[in-house]
Amino acid sequence: MNSMKVNRISTFLIICCAVIMAGILAGLIGYILYQGVSNISLHFLTSDASAFLAGGGIKNQLWNSFYILLITMILTVPLGIAGGIYMAEYAKPNKLTGFMRSCLEVLSSLPSIVVGMFGLLVFVNFFHWEYSILSGALALTVFNLPVIVRVCEDALRSVPHDQRLSGLALGLTQWHTIKKVLLPAAFPGILTGLILSAGRVFGESAALLFTAGLSTPNLDFTNWNPLAPNSPLNLLRSAETLSVHIWAVNSDSIIPDAKQVASGAAAVLVICILLFNLFARCLGKLVERKMIGK
């Protein structure tokens, strides 16, 4: 039968697409891990990068990545969740909301390099924060804020409408309904979204190129005074992150083992992303189960 044949062929093609998709992931992860894992060692993770000799590590880059991530999340999470609450619960369908939504769309579709250029213009040059963790984190805030607003808004919207109604019908104010009923119910979704967005921040590179710089001072991991120039905590020092390091090592370094360092660093990066993902999934499920099954 003709239509049956067409059906079979097209189904086959669609399955092919899915297989390609899965293949790409398997290929990517497999290749990166295969190439990179052999280069990962305790030494690689805990020693400084080298400018021209073989055998450098990624200690500072790894630290910088996590530190910038932390600062970015501290800046974005409260802002983003509050923004999400506004968009989901308070925004009335009027011109202002329409405009705000457009802004959100614009912001979330800006190329990260444009965000980086904005950071260069404003944070680095205008405020004279130079290439620094602060500039980088602020640029990433611009980059990540719309994502978190979106995550929070979606999570709140997916809370059944009758939860809202029952809160209000019990004489709770809207704010208390949000705080006590909706946010807890949306929490697993928000948490999962936050962690996934953290993964994206962790891997971002173009926005940091012009804001956090491509170098790291010699960090003294015994000096935790945030004002010291060589303190890992200093916000006003330049900081090369792991993903920027991969790019830099590949495009303009003079170390002889650039390939090994790059693939090792890429493997570390991907493993971190995988862990973020796994973590988000497990935590989200755990929290959800705790809320429903208690």
């Binding site: 059906n7 983003g80 390099i113 790019w247």
Partner: protein
């Protein structure tokens, strides 16, 4: 009835005031019990988004038009010129067309890579194997979205470039490599948005179709895809907008040659790669620096255009 000053007087306190709103005052606005406090807080946070967007647009616009207003670069020859040679001492030329062309080609080619596979995978997830799709493809997509672009670039350099070199000759660096890398990169974005679009087609329609004896493909092709078409196009456009703005992964594989490429395997450059490549070499206020900001402004304008396109598509979707 109470009479006061010769007038009949309704005792206000007799009416129960407990259901009447308290007057607005400093105290009620900031007191814990009232909700104004929370409302103001979230509104201010939301305003940050507007502030950031406006700031970015204004700063980049002002910085980006300097090359035309201050440095007197001809805007036509900037947009349409084929020759980019800012270091020539006598006759510096700032023709950005090859980069615009490069960006557009990479974007379109990437969409050609990503759209069929992405929409196919989305169909798999929503129509063919729902359970499987949710269980396996969803996490795959989430992981792929999370993989940093430099990693895609790295793989492009170490796998795709040697492959192209061995298959087609040449350097391997070029539009084709860029398009493949970016196409794979936007694949998860396209897939997940397309899957959302397909999921939002009401099951009613599918049931109607199946109950009328349609095969799976007939249902997909004649009912599901037409109903989701504007959103599917949105998915592709969104993917393209990501491709247009991608910088480092492209720079690692495209070769960064400033001439118009003659074939897919010749090195080329895009707006983003030329910015990352040259920005560091310039000083504030130099013509080259200003021109790079103008390239940034083009990126900004393009992302606005993409948004307008998406808006247009989603409005069409609502009419259906």
């Amino acid at each position: 009835m109470i009479v006061k000053n010769g007038e009949p007087y309704v005792d206000d306190t007799a009416i129960n005031r407990r259901l009447i709103k308290k007057d607005l005052s400093y105290k009620t606005i900031f007191s814990k019990k009232r909700e104004y406090r929370g409302k103001i807080l979230v509104f201010i946070s939301a305003s940050f988004i507007m502030a950031a967007t406006i700031a970015i647009t204004l700063f980049l616009t002002f910085q980006g038009i300097r090359s035309f207003t201050v440095d007197r670069v001809n805007i036509i020859s900037f947009l349409a010129g084929l020759n980019w040679n800012p270091t020539d001492v006598q006759h510096p030329s700032y023709g950005a067309f090859p980069f615009i062309f490069g960006s557009l080609s990479v974007t379109i080619l990437a969409a050609l890579v990503a759209a069929p596979i992405g929409i196919g995978s989305a169909l798999f997830m929503t129509e063919i194997a729902k359970k499987w799709g949710q269980k396996f493809l969803q996490p795959i997509i989430e992981i792929l979205v999370g993989i940093p672009s430099v990693v895609y670039g790295l793989i492009g350099m170490s796998v795709i470039i040697p492959f192209i070199r061995s298959q087609f000759g040449g350097l391997g660096f070029g539009l084709l490599a860029g398009a493949i890398v970016v196409g794979v990169m936007i694949l998860p974005t396209v897939t997940s948005i397309a899957a959302d679009a397909l999921k939002s087609v009401p099951d009613d329609l599918r049931h109607a179709s199946y109950a009328l004896g349609a095969t799976k493909w007939q249902t997909i092709y004649k009912v599901v895809i037409p109903a989701a078409l504007p959103s599917l196009l949105t998915a592709i456009v969104l993917g393209m907008s990501r491709a247009f703005g991608e910088a480092l992964a492209v720079q690692m594989v495209i070769g960064n040659a400033k001439d118009l490429p003659h074939s897919l395997i010749e090195p080329a450059a895009t707006l983003t790669t030329i910015i990352t490549l040259s920005m560091g070499h310039t000083t504030d206020g130099s013509v080259l620096n200003d021109v790079l900001w103008s390239l940034g402004l083009i990126l900004l304008v393009m992302s606005y255009i993409f948004i307008i396109l998406i808006r247009f598509l989603s409005r069409r979707g609502r009419l259906l």
